[in-house]
């Protein structure tokens, strides 16, 4: 990558003024649908729901689809006799910054056809919601929890959508979003206080915490409000002598008051 294009890429990150960025149009030149049998089949069956098809890195076929039909489309990709994408290799998301829409990425592999396919669905920042595919691939369970945790994308119909990477009492938002400050929104003192205030017993059942012989986690986890942005059931310690509001509200980068509203 030349220096010039690198600078351009950086500018795009800050302003979103990349070609077609405002509309959230998919990147990459349109590829010939016949170059991948599944893409041709997808176009035949789903028509307008298949928005764009491009090839990246030589032979990576990327298909942009309409986010509202992604579940139906992925179900067909797994079950159709000609497709059989029975392995969900990865499910993740990308934030390109600059107010551009987030992309949810499904990387699929067909063990019988020995083919791979990448499905992408774009979500505008104002409506970060998409259907869960846990019913299709069980592997999507934790992957969707991770995407929810780090990007804040809500998966409709997920059986147990709560944080998986960040602490359960984390209230600073979703860290992998481009608008998230590198050091978090709270001061280090407040982050430390919250980290120590977390008791795992508040968020996990005894079964989940058992080292040996614990039954598989089932039923309802205690932190059911996790889907409601940040978890306000924080076991706060107002009597903590180490903490005072004056020391924690003064973070560099304009942190909101602890427990404050999410931006």
């Amino acid at each position: 990558m030349t220096e010039k294009s690198f600078d351009e890429a950086l500018r795009g990150l800050e302003t979103g003024e990349e070609a077609g960025a405002g509309s959230g149009a998919p990147r990459g030149a349109a590829a010939d649908a016949s170059s991948h049998p599944s893409v041709a089949a997808l176009r035949d069956r789903f028509g307008d729901a298949v928005l764009h098809h491009t090839i990246m890195a030589g032979d990576e076929h990327v298909v942009y689809v309409a986010s509202e039909r992604v579940r139906e489309l992925l179900q067909w990709l797994r079950d159709d006799a000609g497709q059989r994408y029975d392995l969900l290799v990865d499910l993740t998301a990308v934030d390109y910054g600059g107010g551009r829409p987030l992309e949810v990425v499904y990387q699929l592999w067909s063990t019988t056809e020995r083919r791979q396919l990448r499905i992408k669905a774009t979500l505008p920042l104002t409506a970060l919601e998409i259907d869960s595919v846990v019913e299709i691939w069980r592997a999507a369970d934790w992957l969707e929890r991770e995407v929810w945790d780090l990007f804040g994308i809500h998966f409709r119909g997920h059986p147990d959508l709560r944080r998986i990477m960040m602490p359960d009492n984390y209230a600073e938002g979703h860290p992998l979003r481009k608008d998230f400050p590198l050091r978090g929104r709270f001061t280090r003192a407040e982050q430390t206080r919250r980290a120590l205030a977390m008791a795992v017993e508040d968020f996990y059942t005894p079964d989940e915490l058992a080292v040996t012989g614990g039954a598989a986690p089932s039923g309802t986890p205690k932190a059911t409000e996790s889907a409601s942005e940040g978890g306000n059931g924080v076991p706060d310690r107002p009597n903590d002598p180490d903490w005072s509001p004056g020391t924690s509200g003064s973070a560099a980068g304009g942190a909101p008051a602890p427990g404050g509203a999410q931006p």
Binding site: P175, P181, T192, R194, S244
Partner: protein, 221 residues
């Protein structure tokens, strides 16, 4: 130190069966025992743990210095070695392990990340474990070689030899402090902001001396 270590070892003078009598200071004999039977509680979270394992293995052989056994239960451990970066999610865990360890106990912060946060000046990482637990010896390096860790342990042994039983402050624990952070909130902010602990600690904390053994209280301005 009035008595050299080798003088404290019980000797049997002659075969005549006289009783072996040894006079020494209580501090000296207690510290001698503590020094030479430090059992580490390994808290390895990252690449430093690989070096810690190498330290315990045959080539470097920590057992030479009395670390006969890595104690994977905090109840039987004397020395917490935090080897690697500590995310906030693990902060309550290391604090709980520290609280579970019986006195006397010491802590070694191994490597740049455990000591200061290192390169991880980010939302998820504790900026120095001394904000969570009191640290006796900081071992620099990224990661430190086994020689570095062993040198840190030898320094800790040096420190233990200088302790006095009469000094109650060393071993007293406030039940109110269980599960709490080690440094006051304003000190945590001062050492960690605005550029992170690793680049700021000396300037912000007013710590003048950079002696190898430094209590976290030395950092308070």
């Amino acid at each position: 130190m009035g008595v050299a270590e080798r003088d404290m070892l019980p000797t049997v003078p002659g075969a005549g069966g006289e009783p072996s009598v040894l006079t020494t200071r209580l501090d000296a004999v207690v510290n001698w025992a503590r020094t030479n039977s430090l059992w580490p509680m390994p808290f390895g979270t990252a690449c430093c743990a690989i070096e810690m394992m190498a330290s315990a293995a045959t080539k470097y052989d920590l057992a030479r210095f009395g670390m006969e056994r890595m104690s994977f239960s905090p109840r039987q451990a004397d020395m917490l070695i935090c080897a690697g970066r500590l995310p906030y999610k693990m902060a309550s865990v290391i604090r709980r392990i520290w609280d579970q360890m019986p006195q006397p106990k010491w802590c070694i912060s191994m490597g740049a990340c455990a000591s200061t946060g290192g390169v991880f000046d980010v939302y998820s990482m504790v900026q120095g474990i001394d904000t969570i637990v009191p640290v006796d010896v900081y071992v620099p390096g990224c990661p430190p070689r086994p020689e570095g860790l062993i040198y840190g342990i030898l320094l800790l042994q040096e420190k233990i030899r200088g302790e006095a039983l009469a000094n109650k402050v060393l071993r007293e624990e406030d039940p109110e402090r269980v599960g709490r952070q080690n440094l006051p909130a304003d000190v945590i902010d001062q050492v960690a902001l605005p550029y992170g602990n690793s680049t700021q600690q000396n300037r912000v904390s007013g710590l003048v001396s950079t002696t190898a053994i430094a209590r976290p209280t030395d950092r308070q301005p």
